[in-house]
Symmetry: C2
Subunit: 231 residues, 2 copies
Amino acid sequence: MTQPQTPDSCLHCLQKCDAFQALNHSEMEILHEAKYDTTYRTGEVIAKQGAPISHLVSLNAGLVKVVLETSGEQDIIISIEKPVFILTGPGLFVDNRYHFSVIALSECHTCYLEIQQLHRLMDTNPDFAKRFYKNIGERAIMLYNRIRSLNQKNMAGRISEALLILQKTIFEANPFELILTRQELAEFTSMTKESVSRILKEFKEEGLIKIEDRQVEIIDFEKMNSISRKG
Amino acid sequence: MTQPQTPDSCLHCLQKCDAFQALNHSEMEILHEAKYDTTYRTGEVIAKQGAPISHLVSLNAGLVKVVLETSGEQDIIISIEKPVFILTGPGLFVDNRYHFSVIALSECHTCYLEIQQLHRLMDTNPDFAKRFYKNIGERAIMLYNRIRSLNQKNMAGRISEALLILQKTIFEANPFELILTRQELAEFTSMTKESVSRILKEFKEEGLIKIEDRQVEIIDFEKMNSISRKG
DNA sequence: TCGTTTCTTTGATTTATATCATTATTCTAT
DNA sequence: ATAGAATAATGATATAAATCAAAGAAACGA
């Protein structure tokens, strides 16, 4: 599973992440001294809910789903993330555990950094600390929106929102490849896979979207946005 | 609305909050130099979703609801909070805005601290910073649990969970005064006020709880816990 | 104290969505 | 290629919960 990668490529990836731009060269060096790279295959668990946070993991290539595991049968997909994504969560300063799982949706390249180094940087570089907390904060804000969506939008609204998120923020292309199965789309929108099928069928019949193979094309953005908002 | 309060009482309140125990006497002094106290009446808005975070507000007495305002008719109550509660959110390091509203459920005493002083302390006292982020992190973790509950528990499960939260973490007494109206209980559990009435009636008929006036007593904790978990 | 408004209860009905059941399709590994 | 497993589509039915409606109780202001 472990794969060699040049330090430069990892360094380059990290610097795409706002927080790490606050580090000077020697600080970066220290972070890199003990790092190692890993490749995950589709479906593999990169971070496990409940497990201790042993390292700071950075997603440098590939797509992942952030999953809330539940006692019931169906999990909840909180978000889909693309590089550069730092796998941290609020647990880092509370109980040092993951409060969600992160699972590869495609082949993923990650790099592991020493968590003690992170803490040291947080203590000595307030600018880095602020940016790092900003990163965590942005995801907390996303959670508020998630709660809103899941609780007051109807199924059509949730599906159109999900498709628009994938199109706009993840793939930035149209058509795009729908990497999620119907079951995953159901977990992303908190509904059953059967209902997902039905809503997508409606959308196709009304000419809002086209689906061929795994390629999804959003045709009527205006209508989709409207459904997503009012839903 | 503004009320005099001795500096000592406020100081005493703040020190109940973990983060502020990391401050030495002179740091506390600086925080206090520019502070001022305010009293809110029931229903008044202490923090408004979307408004800039101008001060660090500490709730020293009274109860509040943390509300997610939505485009629809019904808001979502994220949590009920009691003193000492620091009204910060993830917005502090992102866009400097509140991403929820905080509304008084009873007469509330608050104290306002200069936000620049907070930022200065964060930069100079890493221990304080960590504890402060821990505070914010704990609330983000609570959000994950909230998402789980609202999305996969049935109505009975959500209501019993809500009552148990109020009993165990807010009032720590039994019976306790239900400060929430049926409408608020509905917003806390993401259902309609009519459904809240019906579920409470069922609980009463099955001898799980007693309600007289605004006094609620949980009779069968075991059953209530079980409903809350399985629901 | 009265009148008005808000809050609460309860019943009847509707609706959105889940569940169940079946068949079709695609993927995967041998 | 082929069997077996996962994935998807679709119809029929069930059900949880919302909505509508109406009346009773409590809180509040003048």
